[in-house]
Amino acid sequence: MTDSLELDGKRVSFSAGETLLEVARRHGKEIPTLCHDPRLKPAGACRTCLVEVNGFRRMPPACATRATADMQVTTNSERIQRHRQGLLSLYLTDHPETQPERLSKNQLVEMAERYGAAGDWGSMASERAGRREDRNPYVHFEPDLCILCARCTRYCDEVEAVNAITLAHRGAKTTIATVDQASLMDTSCELCGGCIDVCPTGAMTEKLPLTRQVKPSKHLKVVRSTCNYCGVGCQLDLNVDTSANEGRGKVVRVTSPETGTTTNDGNLCVKGRFAYDFVDHPDRLTVPLIRQPDGSFKEASWEEAIRVAADGLSRVKSRHGADALGFVSSSRCTMEDNYVVQKLSRAAFGTNNCHQCAAT
């Protein structure tokens, strides 16, 4: 069912259930938001998206107001501009004057610049408490940078549903807290890092391991790939420092694609977002190895190793027949890897004894 309303003087259609924000953005209107995330129920808390609607004395938040037939909506007016400037100027008085370096942009600061907020209303020291110490390995919380949009707490509740973090205290002391301000490690937190992903100001940020730290100013190459853990097939963006590892490149950070674009809808779990130490781990096998008569391994060239492997398998086949060979492929490897292994088994060695761990 579609209906129509008037958006900045133009008749536009909308479908039942759409919010003013959705309708406006669909029609190319610019409405700033900080607390909005399509995965979350609207909170209307950041107040940046207020618009004018005929018959409404107060400006309603576009994110939380459903479109109704024949509404007259204004997304830009003197009143709205004054509101945005005033609001963002207020936000700045409660925000550090100098920003710590972050791998992601500070959306509040960018927005304040864009809408011409005053930067000279003075500055107040934050009254927000952080956690005394948090030995969790992944998530750092910097209360000074927090604007209480509550995206992180709502994400933790509505999407991840672990409720490890909450709004605590009230008034200017309102902050993001765990129960008793305990370390995330001692709470229901599953370390998915969604709070980092949704934070607009970098108050929630990665605690990257030393080996993966990189200057925010450094240009990172972003490579879209598929997660290598479970079978959901989350899309993820590998952020690569191309000059690290003598030019081999290094995955320093993993981020989720924008919500609404992939199966995982912008979400990742703890493994998908953080578990990448293994990529450059010193335990990686880097040289082919051949067993010696004394039981030890010797390093070998590829030619030699392939030859020994091929000969060994061929010998078993010639002695006992092709079906004395077994090929264990891997559900962890790519389609292409699996295709060539089964072809190796069937076409090159002549047996259908080819399988992988595939109980589900």
């Binding site: 490579v223 096998l285 259908n352």
Partner: protein
């Protein structure tokens, strides 16, 4: 999965059985939570109070291995109360009468005795499932890793068919795949019965097609599946090529497998890390990991997505497919693949289900769900729309069979194994991640407070867990998360291998091992042993 991950959020009824979704498939769990947030009803059937059960409207905490009783009793209620979708049954299925007959004696009251689930909860669940249009079933290894795993799946399928919850959005029967590319590995033909695209090796037409296509003679005899192969190691199987799996950690009853490995003549191991299996290897080939290579994974919902090279592999490590091609060339088969796009193209050439998919399309469209028979086909979101693939949906009457090994006076507890959120399978990757290692550093065993008390065990204490096949040590976690009489251990820890304990009794059809039920026992570690540690 018959349906897509993206459809879960719109479901009105979620029946999650044998799946610890929040830990094993966190992102799918998020979709389930989203459905719950919009008002969907969630029923969790699991012996453990898994995390998801906290969000559930009902938690059916059944005794391990009694799934058939639960599912048949649900069928009993649905049939008895006339809640079946007769039109769907008539139009699209066969064998309904046999099932109706088979479940006649599975009353909810008797099911309560066997499963431990209150009869009224079984009735409630059956009614809600049958009468909710968008009702989906989600399951994983808790259903399949039993000696009667196939029966469990049939019993589930019977429910789906009799209620017509098939071929519609947000419904269906959805096994959640455990590994990134389980679906893909099977699709690609890494199975003993099927060539790529589920074409049987013993189908003469298929056989002829592939002999012609590949230009070599092929064996028409189905091969051994993994469970059979592992039992045959050292006997019929004397040479092994193992890519990317640590069979000595992941296979059940590993003591027996180790014996077999000692008798093997030649073993090639291809992996990114040293592992347990390497102890028996003659050649070890260093492989690239996913961030270092190109290709595709196919996820649980049959979606083909790209894997892209982001960094160079370390040292001399190379992508698996290149190594395999070299190996083939060394035995006289030069396939001349220059890149993975060409490999994929060859695969789809002979596999009609995938014929429309290519790297190029996946690149531009972000992902494609098969069946996708032609380059202009949009892919398939959910299967069986407007009917059932391959003719009629076949009902399969099943009867309850107890698990192979049940507790007795010597081994009084039921042991189940599984995954945790913080590790992955053999944990070769996750235990090399400092943060995850800190969150879950070592082996633990969940035990009910009552059972712990009986044995004088306190929370956090080091204990021994043993079965007829082996013994491991673990930290006791005393929790009501497990039922009384049941214990649970994760499978991730190499120094305390869960599979020293598990039973390799396989399912009659799939030969999948009974990882979920075996008889075991827990005891305190004598003082002197502890001090020696």
């Amino acid at each position: 999965m018959t349906n897509s991950i993206g459809e879960i959020r719109d479901a009105d009824f979620l029946f999650v059985i044998g799946s610890n979704t929040t830990e094993a498939h966190p992102i799918i769990a998020m979709e389930m939570k989203r459905a719950i947030g919009s008002g969907a009803t969630l029923v969790v059937a699991d012996p453990r109070s898994i995390w998801l059960s906290q969000l559930a409207d009902k938690h059916l905490q059944l005794r391990p291995g009694t799934d058939v009783w639960l599912l048949n009793a649900m069928a009993h209620v649905i049939i008895g109360e006339g809640l079946v979708d007769q039109a769907f049954i008539d139009a699209h299925t066969e064998g309904y009468e046999a099932v109706a007959e088979a479940v006649r004696d599975y009353t909810p009251e008797r099911a309560e005795e066997v499963t431990g689930i209150p009869a009224e909860d079984i009735i409630w669940t059956a009614r809600r499932y049958a009468t909710t249009e968008k009702a989906g079933i989600y399951y994983t290894l808790g259903i399949t890793e039993h000696s009667h795993g196939t029966d469990n799946v049939y019993a589930l399928a019977n429910l789906v068919l009799m209620t017509g919850h098939l071929g519609k959005p947000s419904s269906g029967m959805n096994p959640l795949r455990g590994q990134n590319n389980v679906q893909g590995a099977n699709d690609a033909g890494a199975t003993p019965i099927f060539l790529p695209g589920y074409q049987r090796v013993d189908d003469p037409e298929v056989h002829a097609k592939y002999e012609k296509s590949w230009g070599v003679p092929l064996s028409p005899v189905p091969g051994m599946n993994l469970n059979v192969m592992m039992k045959a190691v050292g006997k019929e199987i004397l040479g092994l090529y193992v890519m990317g799996e640590d069979i000595l950690l992941s296979e059940p009853n590993v003591s027996r497998l180790e014996e077999g490995m000692n008798k093997i003549e030649f073993l090639v191991l291809q992996d990114a890390f040293m592992n347990e299996t390497a102890r028996f290897a003659d050649v070890i080939l260093p492989a690239a990991i996913f961030a270092e290579k190109d290709g595709t994974f196919t996820n649980s919902e049959r979606r083909v997505q790209r894997v892209r090279k982001a960094v160079e592999p370390p040292g001399m490590a190379r992508p698996d497919w290149e190594i395999v091609c070299d190996l083939a060339k060394a035995v006289g088969h030069d396939w001349k693949f220059e890149n993975t796009a060409q490999v994929y193209a060859e695969m789809v050439r002979d596999a009609p289900k995938f014929a429309g998919i290519s790297h190029e399309r996946v690149d531009s469209e972000g992902g494609l769900q098969w069946p996708c028979p032609a380059p202009d086909h949009p892919g398939t979101k959910f299967l069986h729309e407007g009917g059932v693939l391959r003719g009629k949906g076949q009902f399969q009457a099943v009867q309850y069979r107890p698990s192979e090994e049940l507790p007795d006076h010597e081994y009084t507890l039921v042991l189940s194994t599984g995954r945790t959120l913080y590790h992955y399978n053999a944990a070769t990757q996750t235990r090399r991640e400092s943060g995850l290692a800190a969150k879950q550093p070592r082996m633990f065993v969940q035990i009910h407070p009552w059972d712990a008390k009986q044995r004088g065990i306190t929370n956090g204490e080091r204990v021994e867990v043993y079965s007829r096949r082996g013994t491991i040590t673990a930290d006791a976690v005393v929790t009501k998360e497990v039922r009384r009489g049941c214990i649970w251990i994760p499978l991730h820890f190499a120094e305390a291998r869960a599979n020293l304990l598990t039973n390799d009794a396989g399912d009659a059809v799939t030969q999948t091992a009974e990882y979920k039920v075996c008889a075991a026992e827990v005891r305190k570690i004598p003082e002197q042993v502890l001090s020696a540690e």
